[in-house]
């Protein structure tokens, strides 16, 4: 009989966190197996450049992204007692890095110190200074365009690719924000503006969110996994839905049981270390579904914290059609979605009656479709001409605001309801808190204030109440200083199960207004270093 191999490390999930940590560990000499619930969609099969009229429903039913959401992943979830939030679960090799806007911002020093700065939440168990070298390394590894703008709220690295040139609407916006004393900077994105690391530069089609068909946008499946493969230490197992992390008599992880998505057969692999990178909701689901006599409430969950503190970003933006660009000859504005960013600025004027802030991403909505046509009144020739005339002046601002990490907001699992693979589904419970609502209102005020400094027609898009999570959900298996209110130490290592690591967004203690992915990757690098060191010492 063939001996079942024992891998040094099993990484579950192939997205931003999984890709980085697998590559690092493989390069460090570990034998790594990666389990990915989805399967690869090769770049040549991406539908990014398809015209709407080449798609069955003109792309209005998400046909371009549909190949990335395999096996009914979008429907095997339930929202219960919930405000207007949704979580973005994907199932494809590369995870959510397959299609994203790739805004990569470092957390500022204050973003790790919620309790010390504002008296809410908790401080992280690590500081900006401790993470800074990893930010530097990851930025160089993935290739980031942008520049150092000298702003403390968005700490900069030393190595950037040339920033994206600003569009006309962004110059006009800058004029307005400058008159208000609000900084506006070139966005930092994991989009190549030159050939870098054997990957080609951006071709400015504006389809980042449908997937980059040349790999100029950072995609874990393109930029990380081939490097892991080159070491000869990497094994990829696709179509593998992790059901449960298995434990030995001492309660340490010994392997993973998974269901093959195609055969629906259950299999097991053995590993000395397990790294969970399935994204916030799925990672919590996996731990909660891993019950054993040693861990009756779920793996590493004796304090009941796994699944709690779910949060993400609140949103709401605005469309403006600038007078100055009205009626100019149509020109190609696609670019690489966002080119500029308005970092948090509400802290510059002293204390507020709420904690946290927001940033504005700019122009990440498509230029192909005239969004205002759905909101302008009237019809007929005059209406049609008005739509046409306004279209070149399109400017959009999308806010991403901090949401407070609160224990009552959580992911649980429903033991009586399973997905089509027989794995109990996650249930999301989420309500915005007082701080969130106060921040959201002030953010809307700020947005209208910027618009009052712009000439044009304004269409607010922030609704009656906050909504989320903008695909930025975090916090369900948090790291922390206090063992009663956290699961992981600062190296993403579970306190109760020393050979279990969680390096995706679920490890966040709290969230700032900044996009989480760069921090997820920096934490994954740091965890990889730690695992290598511990393995060398024989502790793992």
């Amino acid at each position: 009989m063939r001996q079942t191999p024992i891998y040094d490390v099993c990484v579950i999930g192939s997205g931003a966190a999984g890709g980085v940590i697998a590559k690092e560990l493989c390069e460090g000499g570990a034998k790594v197996i990666m389990l990915e619930a989805g399967r690869e969609v090769p770049l040549g099969k991406f539908l990014s450049h398809k015209w709407p009229y080449e798609l069955p429903y003109r792309g209005l039913r998400g046909e371009k992204q549909a190949p990335f959401y395999q096996g009914g992943v979008s429907t095997s979830i339930r929202y219960e007692d919930c405000d207007a939030v949704s979580v973005d679960r994907i199932r494809v090799l590369g995870g959510r890095t397959v299609h994203w806007n790739a805004v990569v911002l470092r957390y500022a020093e204050r973003d790790f110190r919620g309790w010390s700065m504002d008296g809410i939440e908790e401080d992280w168990p690590l500081t900006y200074q401790q993470l800074a070298p990893y930010y530097e390394r990851i930025e160089q590894m993935i290739g980031v365009c942008g520049q150092d703008d000298g702003l403390e709220i968005v700490p900069a690295g030393k190595h950037y690719l040339p920033p994206l040139p600003w569009r006309c609407s962004e110059h006009i916006l800058h004029r307005a924000t400058k008159s208000m004393g609000i900084p506006l900077i070139s966005v930092r994105k994991a989009v190549l503006t030159t050939v870098y690391d054997s990957r080609p530069p951006c071709h400015y089609c504006g389809h980042c969110m449908s997937g980059c068909d040349v790999g100029a946008l950072f995609n874990s499946a393109v930029a990380m996994l081939p490097k892991a493969q080159r070491t000869g230490n990497f094994t990829l197992r696709q179509n593998a839905l992790a059901r449960e992390i298995l434990v030995d008599r001492e309660g340490l992880a010994r392997g993973v049981s998974f269901v093959d998505a195609q055969t629906k057969l259950e299999q097991e692999i053995k590993a000395r270390v397990v790294v969970v990178c399935c994204a916030t909701v799925e990672s919590a689901r996996l731990l909660l579904n891993s019950r054993s006599p040693q861990h009756p409430r779920g793996l590493a969950n004796s304090n009941g914290v796994v699944g709690r503190y779910l949060h993400g970003h609140l949103g709401g933006g605005i469309d403006i059609y600038l007078k100055e660009l009205e009626g100019v000859s149509p020109f190609n504005q696609d670019g690489a979605t966002d080119h500029v960013y308005i970092p948090r600025y509400n802290h510059l004027g002293g204390k507020k009656d709420y904690a946290g802030g927001w940033g504005f991403q700019v122009n990440f909505s498509s230029y192909m479709f005239p969004h205002h046509a759905l909101r302008l009144g009237g019809y007929g020739t005059a209406y049609k001409q008005r739509v046409r005339k306004m279209q070149p002046g399109y400017l959009m601002l999308g806010a991403f605001g901090k949401v407070e990490a609160r224990p009552e907001n959580c992911v649980s699992v429903d033991p009586h309801k399973a997905d089509e693979y027989g794995i109990p589904i996650p249930v999301v419970h989420f309500r915005f808190g007082k701080n969130d609502v106060a921040l959201w209102s002030d953010k809307n005020r700020g947005l209208m204030e910027i618009c009052s400094n712009l000439q044009g027609e304004v269409f607010p898009d922030f609704g009656e109440a906050p909504g989320g999570f903008a695909s930025h959900e975090v916090g369900t298996i948090r790291m922390g200083k206090n063992p009663k209110t956290s699961v992981l130490n600062s190296f993403c290592q579970a306190r109760e199960v020393k050979n279990l690591f969680v390096t995706d967004g679920s490890c966040f203690t709290s969230s700032s207004e900044k996009n989480p992915t760069l921090t997820i990757m920096a934490l994954s690098l740091r965890a990889a270093d730690y695992i290598r060191e511990q393995r060398r010492k024989g502790d793992l």
């Binding site: 939030v85 004029r175 949103g315 479709f369 005239p370 759905l374 049609k384 209102s441």
Partner: protein, 212 residues
Amino acid sequence: MKRRTVIKIVALGTLASKLDVVGGSVCHSSADMAWSVSNYKLRFFTPEENKLLDQLMEMIIPADNQSPGAHAAQVSLFADLMVSTSGATIQGQWREGLKRIQEQAAKSTLAEALAESAANEGHATADIERFFRDLKHMTVNGYYTSAIGIHKDLQYQGNAYLTAFPGCTHTQILSNQAGEQGEKTGQARQPKESGNLSGQANRTNGRRGLRT
């Protein structure tokens, strides 16, 4: 730069074929996704309903000296596809709406019937007013995702493979520009407290693109 050239730079093929894949095959359900109106057969609306719908849609987005309108773009067939794949409630609303417009038109003209349904567009409450809103949205969605809407009317220049992005080339705008890209933005002062939340705020947050 041609797409092929771009891809050649990295020679990225199918990753899975290069990786050491254990178990699980790679399969792609890449059925032909192209949708053509050339031999489209009505699935939901009757030919009479389709004719009425076509007329109404052309009134909403008519041909003008720049481009053909909703009729030439065959937006009513797009509507048929969308409605035929919707639930029974939505299907009933479309059938009923067209019937109501038809009845009104019999008393006056189709143009007047449409104008009446559109009279309260911003605050649609009556069924017929809600029908107008749905009809207009369907027309907009269908027309501006058609080849005529995208290329002839809006003359959209994008969805291209560029070797460089020029940024703003309108010199008037650049000369109005107080600062320049690349300057250090430095510390900012607190903006004035002003502005309010009046105006339309009736859309939800989780809309297109709220994801980065």
